[in-house]
Symmetry: C2
Subunit: 118 residues, 2 copies
């Protein structure tokens, strides 16, 4: 699904908070795809390591946190990147990752309950 098909209402993605406005089928598909990227413990932990680092993170510093293989880590990082949650750049031997904070905030906003945060 192309994101261009949906009118963005916030930086990073479509849609008002679901606590205030029901999603149509296309919006639900876009949202569910983002949640799917977060629905794996290794990926969610990877994103938390990258997002909380305060700076870009070398993949060489990420792998030691996990018991899974390097290719598995690479696969999960690719899923996070395709979901727009992280971005990266290769420099020499290593790839460096940083969070796409606007995209994280978009997902957060989607689930926010204004009555509880006001």
């Amino acid at each position: 699904m192309s994101k261009q098909q949906l009118a963005p209402t916030a930086a990073g993605g479509c849609c008002a908070p679901i606590a205030t406005t029901a999603l149509d089928a296309a919006q639900a598909a876009e949202g569910a795809a983002a949640f799917k990227a977060l629905a794996d413990p290794v990926r969610l932990r990877l994103l938390s390591i990258i997002a909380s680092a305060g700076d870009e993170v070398c993949v060489c510093d990420i792998s030691p946190h996990f018991d899974v293989s390097g290719p598995t880590i690479s696969h999960h990082l690719k899923v996070l990147r395709e979901a727009g949650l992280v971005d990266c750049e290769r420099r020499g031997t290593w790839v460096y990752y940083w969070p796409v904070r606007e995209r994280m905030q978009w997902i957060s906003d989607l689930l926010a309950v204004p009555a509880l945060t006001a």
Copy 2:
């Protein structure tokens, strides 16, 4: 996994925002399980219909929004309920659903980026 194993830091679930603190493996498992419940377009749209209604919703008013079968709707509602995102009560013929707003806000807080919301 028992939620009792994790020290709750907010109503609805464990953990500080991942933009500030990396998750350990147990916290990532709890978070990923919640995201998994949202990682399906029908479930996400169901939750949006229930959460945005402003009152409890009869399952009889939910089904007409979808092209899928009644049992499929029931299955997805069960997954949302097991994830703690909705609750329900049977009254006579019908079951009525309402959102668990604290649980939605917990997931929202997990993804929030304080630097973007401050």
